[in-house]
Symmetry: C2
Subunit: 574 residues, 2 copies
């Protein structure tokens, strides 16, 4: 495989050999290794010294189920720390098929022109782009699909990325021509700062990936794939209801943050839950289940149609529905679906933007529950880049500061997702301590706290949460490096043969002899690399804390956030 | 003396004895000690756990010349660190005459009501206020002077403080009824967060301050006062031309940052320099020289009239004129005077706002040189609290982030003042390392670098700058604790009897036997206290660095910022 390196300062391309140290790295492990090695930690995230790195996972391009996730890395304009944001869609598998271990984009062009990149088997073409400038992601993807054909991969930024907003994401075309996002941390702004509107990927005649022991790989992959399908969460709940199955579960548990984290239960939960979504999709002839990338066997995605049975959105996730729904006290699933669609089109992270809208409601910019107001702010302000749009597009923390507010649910300037850290304490530990800023996917303690996967740890008590979060953060760094969907974790945690099969696949592909310890060493090493970067960027353990207002008790359990700094600091004792 | 403590949460007042550890502390030394002891370093600066502390200096209220400066302290909403901002005006001497060692304001009221405080010999009355809400500082001061009489002290916030903008200052009525400001670090936002529009001070029948050895004090004060008058800078240049005398001096030295720090010389310098200002004031029947507080012998202030000989502004400082002038390439002194007046009225720091306007010009919000545009942004946006106003009112860093810009001249989120750190390297070391964020007054190395006061150290070379900045930062912490104007430093640095007289005054007043070493120990201890607070708030040495773009050479000397991190870290090796 090769490293593809694009320099936007002098508009040049170089193909490089993969250094030995990066051979058995992929996905997050590789993007973080490259950012840590090549990016000055104190640089301005939107300046010429930041780099944007795209990498398929270690298993991407193989027959391993759910292995087609793309990692995107850089110094984050939102958190100021290292960032890996991952996405489904078609890009990772195209890169793998091209034999591209990582695509590194560095520098910033002089002058005001914008560009696009075309990635193919012989390298990368850097071309001026003006036609699609200012356009939304759907138009970009449709136009490029028409221009280059159905099979072309696309990574693009919407208006938010062009404006270099800290909530801007990078959108990735999925197998249905819809949108997946490397959502968190403002990586769309980094792409915008390099004045790249989109990247197309043509994997024709790609050299592909090598598997050292194909037979062994095939056997392990079969066990792995079957395991995913046999687990009740990944084999049953997620395919049917999507991630939105969690609304009722979290509401029941009192952990569904409502009205900007004032309570843990939402009166309108029934109207926005996965079961309601499923009925609605079916009655409107939508598609209740499909995968975000080829080879996904969980298929937790869907196509959600409007009342006239026309496409409204897809990849309609629990966190989005929670945020614009319970978080903002909006109980209309159609409006939330519209909001999701507009966010995808503008290219802005739904979790960050949901947090922003909660803060906007906190500050009286919008009344609570005003879903139409959210649509208006997205279309008339953020998309247009007005002054108010510039405030909102830079996220919840920024919006709070603009309006002098203090109830801002963020860690490391990143908005908190869909689980109350007081009543799901394991996820609170993850929010506080992950290198990524408040991020549920970085150590999804909801597993043992709520879903009783991988054991059960009482979500309302402190006992065991630090260890749980630590172990999950390590395991997640492994999965993110493999290019695996995070939902493979349910079967991996519960079924030993599945976790063995995963390591067998790695060994079969790379000719390694890794044990389970070696595998988790990879995860530990990724976290240490990221943490060292953040420290060099100026982070301390003071950044591993939740905002003050979580000392308020949250109904219905009336629990508070009660971890001491010293307790949280133990997460990184390994 | 007493501590006056106001709790805004339950709207109560308490008079407390002064703890022994605070007896020989005052001004910055006392505000920083109180903030460090009583404020949780990680608290939200606009939340109920922050405190706002007002303290007169150790010598305030005595016959020591230029000893009437007020220190205001809190955790800064701009920098996120500890802040002491000091001001002239009448408040410090009123507090001293009332025997108030410090006024501490804590908590935040429930509900939406606003309040005012009335400070007098028996304590503090907390009253609801609505009449003056939304009004500018000039109207507040005129109304309160009419209501309570000429002799009443006033500290107030303008619209910027009400909006809790990070650039909001606290305005202090001066002896002429004009405005002085505790300008830097957004302390007006902290006052606004506590919903206090203004504080009036009635010093009638105040218990005053005690001087242990009056005779000794008087003798020393005479030497001190004479010394200030005999120094060419404080006795001659400043009284005649004001601080604006520095325009020509810095322009000549190539250290006048022009067009957002692109060059060190401004073609329009002649039109905005102190000499031009003096001629203009004289021809328009203004007042070229008066003091910002009673007992000032330097009298570097002035009243600047418009073309029709009507009052336009006063306290019209070099840094303001530089910032809106050379910094923004505006060469019209009348427009800059209008801008100064509007900033005072809105209650917003001129240095931060000048930096913000440079950044706004950088981002194309205004054309370079558009002074009328600056007036418009102040009046129509910041004063009105529009969305654009919310961006600009939160300072240069915030504005840069809103618009995705990278050329932002700040340290610790605070705008850099009027001296290019590359061609006046000593001040660059101060900008980088002071606990306050970029702040020239914290260690005014311009003395030895440019003015050849206290020796001469070549401004273009690195040699000696770290030690110079360190010594001046220590000495300044002493002066700020004494309540002395920073311009007393010229005579103190150059004339040994003056520096002895200063310590003699302290010893005479407090019955101490301090040597010069003890005196500087006070300064060292203040800096260490502040630095410890910042560390506990999450600061590291990575915060003691200048922005990346200072690696560009600056004409005319084409020097770059070339200090290593290790070199800068030596400043705090004491």
């Amino acid at each position: 495989m090769k490293i593809y390196r694009v320099n936007m300062t002098n508009l040049s391309f170089k193909m490089e050999e993969v250094p030995e140290e990066w051979r058995v790295l992929g996905g997050r492990g590789l993007t973080s290794a490259i950012v840590a090695k090549e990016v000055e930690p104190t640089c301005h995230p939107l300046g010429s010294n930041n780099k944007l790195v795209f990498a398929p996972g270690l298993l991407t391009g193989t027959m391993a189920a759910n292995s087609g996730r793309l990692s995107v890395g850089a110094k984050s304009p939102l958190t100021g720390g290292i960032k890996e944001s991952n996405s489904g869609g078609t890009a990772a598998q195209r890169l793998a098929k091209l034999g591209v271990k990582a695509l590194i984009v560095e520098g910033i062009p002089e002058g005001d022109k914008w560009y696009c990149l075309h990635v193919h088997k012989d390298g990368v073409e850097i071309k001026e782009e003006s036609e699609l400038l200012g356009k939304g992601n759907y138009e970009v993807i449709h136009t490029l699909t028409a221009r280059y054909g159905e099979n072309t991969g696309v990574m693009t930024i919407g208006q938010a990325g062009e404006y270099k907003m800290s909530a801007a994401n990078i959108s990735v075309k999925d197998p249905k021509g819809h949108i997946r996002s490397a959502g968190r941390g403002g990586l769309g702004a980094v792409m915008g700062s390099k004045r790249i509107k989109f990247i197309t990927l043509d994997d024709n005649d790609g050299s592909g990936i090598e598997i050292k022991d194909k037979e062994k790989f095939k056997k392990a992959a079969q066990i792995f794939n079957k395991g995913l399908l046999s687990h009740p969460v990944s084999g049953n709940a997620l395919p049917k209801y999507g991630t939105d199955v969690l609304v009722n579960i979290l509401n029941e548990a009192g952990g569904l943050p409502t009205k900007n984290f004032r309570t843990g239960q939402f009166a309108g939960a029934e109207k926005i839950c996965g079961e309601t979504m499923y009925e609605t999709i079916m009655s409107r002839k939508g598609d209740p289940t499909h995968g975000c990338h080829v080879g996904c066997v969980i298929r937790c995605s869907q196509t959600y149609n409007d009342k006239d049975n026309r496409y409204l959105t897809s990849g309609f996730e629990y966190e989005t529905i929670w945020g614009f729904g319970a978080g903002c006290t909006v109980d209309d699933l159609d409006i939330i679906a519209s909001v999701d669609n507009i966010c995808d089109d503008i290219g802005i992270d739904t979790i960050e933007t949901a947090g922003t809208m909660m803060v906007a409601m906190e500050g009286g910019i919008l009344p609570w529950g005003d879903g139409h107001g959210i649509v208006r702010l997205l279309k008339d302000e953020i998309k247009q880049g007005t002054s108010l749009g510039r405030i909102l597009g830079n996220g919840a923390d920024f919006t709070g500061k603009a309006f002098g507010l203090t109830r801002i649910p963020t860690v490391k300037h990143q908005s908190m997702p869909a689980y109350d850290p007081r009543s799901v304490k394991g996820i609170g530990v993850t929010y506080a301590t992950t290198t990524m800023g408040a991020d549920h996917t970085a150590g999804y303690s909801v597993t043992a706290n709520i879903l009783k996967v991988g054991g059960h740890i009482d979500p309302l008590k402190k006992e065991g949460q630090v260890e749980l979060s630590r172990n999950l953060q390590i395991a997640t760094a492994c999965l993110d490096s493999a290019g695996l969907c995070i939902f493979t974790a349910f079967a991996i945690l519960d079924y030993e043969p599945v976790s063995h099969a995963l390591i067998d696949m790695i060994n079969a592909q790379y000719g390694t002899n890794w044990t389970s310890d070696d595998w988790f060493d990879l995860g530990r090493s990724v976290l240490k690399t990221e943490r060292a970067f953040n420290e060099a960027a100026g982070f301390t353990n003071k950044d591993d804390r939740l905002p003050e207002f979580f000392s308020e008790p949250v109904p219905p359990h009336n629990v508070t956030w009660d971890f001491s700094g010293a307790e949280l600091d133990q997460v990184y004792q390994f």
